[in-house]
């Protein structure tokens, strides 16, 4: 399964998932709440660059290159924000708000870049444990998330099988002719999955 994780050994990589989540969230929230002035544009950009520079993503300029990739990935968000705000509000809010939103998104990406999905799943399970008294079952939630993760590639393969079968019969790429057979295949898989879970003692 493809994830956004990039292996590494910097201090952010080694930090436990729970505290790292809180750290990243507080920095992102801080940047998000900056006022819409020129100085916040500079500050947001500075925090973003600093964050990637000190995160220990790799030797030399590796962190900054990664920042470039992250900014490029959300280029359309940036363009739409800048253009719409230029039209309706003028240059200062346009630049400040675009910088603020961009910095928040790329800084938040540091979490996924430096943390394995399994570590975050464990952190979620641990974080939900105090809620057990309220009737929440952290293990069942973790099971639900894990089962979903392992199901996605399976359904991805089923989807391309359905698509191939239709191409072979000369069908065009039409959502309606694709979705119904795919749904039925997927729901049959759900029945099998439910039986398999029951057979393994999940009631």
């Amino acid at each position: 399964m493809l994830t956004l994780y990039k292996p590494g050994s910097g201090w952010l990589h080694r930090m436990p998932a729970g505290p790292k989540l809180l750290l990243v969230l507080s920095v992102v929230l801080g940047v998000s709440l900056l006022p819409s002035h020129w100085f916040s544009a500079g500050l947001a950009a500075a925090v973003g660059i600093l964050g990637y520079a000190v995160a220990g993503l790799g030797p030399g300029l590796h962190g900054i290159k990664e920042l470039g990739r992250q900014v490029f990935a959300i280029r359309w968000v940036i363009v739409i924000t800048v253009v719409s705000q230029l039209i309706f509000m003028g240059p200062e809010p346009a630049v400040a708000n675009a910088a603020r939103v961009t910095a928040a998104i790329v800084l938040a990406a540091l979490l996924a870049l430096t943390t394995r999905v399994t570590a975050l799943l464990d952190a979620i399970e641990a974080g939900l444990r105090p809620l057990e008294r309220l009737g929440l079952d952290p293990q069942r939630i973790a099971l639900l998330l894990t089962v979903t993760i392992s199901t996605i590639p399976v359904l991805g393969r089923r989807a391309s099988e359905v698509r191939d079968a239709q191409w072979a019969r000369g069908a065009r790429n039409n959502p309606r002719t694709f979705v119904v057979p795919f749904l039925i295949v997927a729901l049959k898989h759900a029945d099998e999955l439910g039986d398999a879970l029951t057979a393994r003692g999940v009631r």
Binding site: L2, T3, L4, V24, L25, V28, S32, A73, V77, I80, S84, Q85, F88, M89, N97, V101, A104, A108, A109, L111, A112, V117, L120, I124, L134, G135, L136, D137, R140, L143, L144, L145, V147, T148, I149, I152, V154, L155, G156, A159, R163, N173, N174, P175, R176, V179, V180, L183, I184, A186, L187, H189, A190, D191, L193, G194, L197, T198, V202, R203
Partner: protein, 209 residues
């Protein structure tokens, strides 16, 4: 009923059994797969994702609570860094971006669609399904999405609403398509809904004298 009691480990309350768990997981995965490359049609260079179509169908097939739960599962997986949104987007960052509200709206939208489509425990009919799609799949999602977008980008609410109008035609097409797909499922694969519908009382035939 809240999600707490749904996921309860207390025997007295209703908990998520294996069948429901599998169906919730499958629908979260279906919506994820619908956002993958090849899963959408391209019209005029702009890719139209099928993900909201998946959200609408999830609510209609799973019903309100399980539908909302499956969208919550999808959002949780996105938040922990899986690139499951259309265009390979993912990570906690999307919940700080302009589209955050629309994504949270999926959860509420699936819930409302489930409520309307299965109102009174009756078998889905086309008009009720279509109303559900328009109400939950468009109105509710925009009602959450537009204010949050306005808050994130600090563009006033009115202007943000005008911007979002660009997506309305596509969403209308998706709502109609989703309703037709659900009706096809009702006829072709009623097992999908995993529930017994309330039936009309059939008139008892008088025994022949």
């Amino acid at each position: 009923m809240t999600k707490h009691s749904l996921l309860s480990n207390l025997p007295a309350k209703r908990r998520l059994d294996a069948t429901s768990l599998a169906r919730v997981a499958i629908f979260a995965a279906i919506v994820a797969v619908m956002g993958m490359p090849g899963g959408f049609a391209v019209a005029g260079g702009v890719s139209i994702t099928l993900q909201t179509l998946g959200v609408m169908i999830a609510g209609a097939v799973l019903g309100p609570r399980l539908g909302a739960l499956s969208m919550t599962v999808l959002m949780a997986l996105v938040a922990i860094g899986l690139p499951l949104l259309a265009g390979g987007r993912g990570g906690i960052g999307v919940f700080f971006g302009p589209s955050a509200g629309y994504l949270v709206g999926w959860i509420l939208g699936a819930f409302v669609i489930g409520l309307v489509v299965h109102a009174g425990g009756r078998k889905p009919v086309l008009w009720r399904t279509l109303v559900g799609m328009l109400l939950g799949g468009i109105l509710v999602i925009y009602a959450v999405g537009v204010p949050v977008q306005s808050m994130v980008t600090r563009l006033p609410l009115g202007e943000t609403a005008v911007l979002s109008l660009a997506f309305i035609p596509g969403d209308l097409i998706k709502a109609v398509t989703a309703a037709l797909i659900v009706m096809t499922l009702v006829r072709a694969y009623p097992r999908a809904f995993n529930r017994v519908w309330a039936t009309k009382k059939t008139p008892v035939l008088e025994p022949a004298k």
